[in-house]
Chain length 201, copies 2
């Protein structure tokens, strides 16, 4: 099970850890990637959420049937990516097919990965943000609820849409907006920015 | 601490429990409401997430400093509402002020509640969906991570934007779209629907 590994794409810049929660705060669907014992995998997950500011923590739900979960449990690390509209079909595909029954699922859905130095989990090209996470083992949560908690140890974003600690979707091409999955292949795209003052919009 | 209690608004219809996860699947910011010992409160939370399909479960992060958390712990029940653009200022306000220091915060921010028969937590008018939840006590999560798990026991939505198990934001006025909070008073509005087939958008 492999994906094409490419150099770090243009526009990828580090995000300070105290701003990393903002990459997930608006509730996008994510790609979960992990590597263990020579195997890599990527799956999509709509059920991922920020859990703390600093050190930043996240939750993500990983079903027992997924191969990616086994890689997370085996390696103790995983990455979350925030996919853009440009890879919506890929996002649906890697969330529908399991590597257990479709061994070439990454190639089939055109998944291209790059590496962050010092970190094993692959990062998926076409995302607009990435969070590298260390699993905080909580066996009761994992067993009872399929709920995994991670501490974010590094983060990056595409500077065309996230810079100086803020998203700037309205100033970039629409294919770089993030995605919010519902069901049956339907997503909502992240829409317009709305700045609210304390006295009203 | 009170809010105006009003009859059930027009357009509110029950949502079958097997579709309740779809009310949160796209990652909106929520309003958390609870009642205990004659006190009610409402706060906003960007960190809420679906956790299971059926019975539907949710996670929500409630800081120890909030009054709403005390009401949830005291009563064992809470409601999540999905606020619309029309109450964005209210959503920011009840997430910024605490009832601990601003006792009239609900009145100050114009919070109007209605009741669902047989359930104590108030539901906030101006939301487009509501999930009534029974706390599943997990003391380690609550203490260590401020993480609360609830089982959804009833759900409702505004039929103008959610019906037959699906969101229909694109066919309704924009002020009924849901919200995704980032930071500093900035939200993103739920945007356009994107239907992806297995072979591409």
């Amino acid at each position: 099970m492999t994906a094409t590994t490419i150099p770090t794409p243009e526009h990828v810049q580090p995000v300070p850890l105290d701003k990393a929660y903002r990459l997930l705060n608006h509730g996008p669907t994510v790609l979960v990637s992990a590597a263990h014992a020579g195997e890599i995998n990527v799956m999509s997950a709509a059920w991922a959420c920020a859990l703390d500011f600093l050190p930043p923590k996240v939750t993500v739900v990983l079903d027992k049937a997924t191969r990616t979960r086994a890689l997370v449990e085996g390696s103790g690390v995983f990455a979350l990516g925030v996919p853009s509209v440009g890879i919506a079909a890929l996002t649906l595909g890697v969330g529908t097919d399991s590597a257990a029954s479709v061994p070439d699922k990454l190639a089939r859905h055109g998944v291209r990965c790059f590496s962050a130095e010092g970190h094993a989990p692959p990062l998926v090209e076409g995302c607009v943000a990435w969070l590298m996470c260390r699993l905080l083992p909580e066996l009761r949560n994992q067993h009872t609820y399929d709920l995994f908690i991670g501490e974010v140890v590094a983060a990056w974003a595409d500077e065309r849409v996230f810079r100086a600690g803020r998203w700037h979707f309205d100033e970039a091409p629409d294919h770089l907006r993030s995605l919010h999955y519902v069901a049956g292949g339907q997503f909502y795209v992240t829409g317009a920015s709305l700045q609210v003052g304390r006295d009203g919009p």
